[in-house]
Subunit: 301 residues, 2 copies
């Protein structure tokens, strides 16, 4: 006997989305938004759970946003799994799923962009020019389409969260941004839709991303403060995976993303690397043992 | 006996603005927004009247937005007349006036910008680099602060209206943009806060802007279609004013702002010129007599 719960309502136009949200609002409910590019995994599901815990009505958007991919990137190959996604969203109890076609999001005359500032220039921004312009623009559009009270993002895309938070503050968008912890596989690999690209062998080797972050955290816990030494160890761990190409491995200030020379306060350790051509990222906060601040994800205000 | 009506409530923080607007919304009212830089004239007043005719609660913002001025421009000298402005807004019956200090609008870490596209590049955009980036950013901020149902702009700033309309469509901002006709002095000069800079003599000469547009319209009405001949006449009229320096005098497509060679459909005639260092602009729509389209301002959807 099939006990799959009923699938959530699925709409594909902004008009239908707004009508459904207005209906939920009319009965006094608060609206939570979980923007995704589909190919949902436990990380996404944790965001939906967080929204359901805080809001009365949870909207999940599934849109593979072309403007955040460079021409050389994996837009065409990006995993699409709508049927499986809808089953997962039924299980977790999402209220509404918005799956717009590209033409519903970007009109033919689209020419206005949200340009993030300095926080978008390093790390992912350096490796992926225009990526955060596309992210900021589509996130603002989705916020304007659904007008949620709260929107949920994963800490795995740490720099994206900084860009979105900065945008929401700078443009006075009336929404609360919540950040949920990275969900990991048993071997520590951060859940990502792109993990599906990896061969079984590369999938095993990919655990070095988390291992390198854990090694950094351990060194700091043992009293090491020297960024150079910690970064050398991180790179060593990463390069222990055959065929892995490091994009970056850094220790940076969690707000400015500027590199630090010493770990005297909370830092962000972040890595990006390619395996079999698949680009993987991960990060974690590291606190020096003397610091009284907890090992938290990006704090929610 | 002083019969000046009571002044509207005046707030200077986003929080107060949002509370006042929420109060008006709670009793079922629609919200109209009239964004201004103060130094109000009959053009602004006509926008407030239009808002009062359409909406239940009219918010006027007075903010001289620094980010739309170039370093070389007249930010410091821009006319400020808050007391007189509040009297005018009392007379016309505005419900709420928002007069934020700069620090309430731009935080110290502000770094996210709304970048308009092609429509912002020619004419004013060519003469005033970054001007429309500042306009688009502050208008989006004000829309997000007040969340009006309708926002009102004057046709005098025609290109600004195109930029704002494009932004609202591209970023899915749920607001209706209304455009009101340019209000003119008896000699045809478009009302502008910057007219106050002119000496009495330059003020008289400034009427050539409207005269040049009227001359263009007349030529078209008389059957002339050749943009080159019409532009020559427009320049001739403009240069009849002693000391006037033309910035541009153009006949362009009303949507793309691309120059036209012949007036075979509705065109926008637009001029910008300096008199005594003061930059003045004006524009009008011109329809060829065979065309059945009315001589309208930017049509409201």
């Amino acid at each position: 006997m099939n006990t799959t719960p009923a699938r959530p309502t699925c709409v594909s136009t902004v008009r239908e989305l707004r009508e459904a949200v207005a209906g939920a609002r009319q009965v006094g409910g608060t609206i939570g938004l979980v923007p995704t590019m589909g190919a949902l995994h436990e990380g996404h599901v944790s965001l939906v759970r967080a929204s359901k815990a805080e809001c009365d009505f949870t909207v999940v958007t599934i849109f593979v946003n072309p403007t955040q991919f460079a021409p050389s990137e994996d837009l065409a190959a990006y995993p699409r799994a709508l049927e499986a996604d809808l089953d997962k969203l039924a299980q977790v109890g999402a209220d509404l799923v918005f799956t717009p076609p590209e033409s519903e999001v970007y009109g033919p005359a689209h020419s206005t962009w949200v340009e993030p500032g300095n926080v978008a220039r390093s790390l992912e921004g350096a490796s992926r020019p225009d990526h955060f312009r596309g992210v900021a623009t589509v996130v603002l559009k989705l916020l304007n389409m659904a007008r949620p009270d709260v929107a949920f993002f994963g800490q795995k895309d740490y720099q994206q969260v900084l860009v979105v938070r900065r945008m929401v503050a700078d443009l006075d968008v009336p929404v609360t941004i919540r950040v949920c912890p990275t969900v990991r596989e048993p071997d520590g690999l951060a859940m990502s839709s792109r993990n599906a690209y990896l061969s079984p062998d590369a999938r095993r080797r990919a655990a070095v991303l988390w291992k390198s972050l854990s090694a950094a955290r351990e060194m700091v816990q043992e009293g090491n403060r020297d960024a150079k030494a910690i970064l050398a160890r991180m790179r060593e761990v990463l390069l222990s995976a055959e065929g892995l190409v490091i994009d970056y491995a850094v220790l940076v200030d969690p707000e400015s993303l500027e590199p630090v020379a010493r770990v005297d306060a909370q830092v962000l350790a972040a890595v990006a690397a390619r395996l079999e051509g698949t680009r993987l990222i991960d990060n974690c906060m590291i606190d020096p043992p003397s610091s009284s601040s907890p090992q938290s994800p990006i704090p929610n205000p």
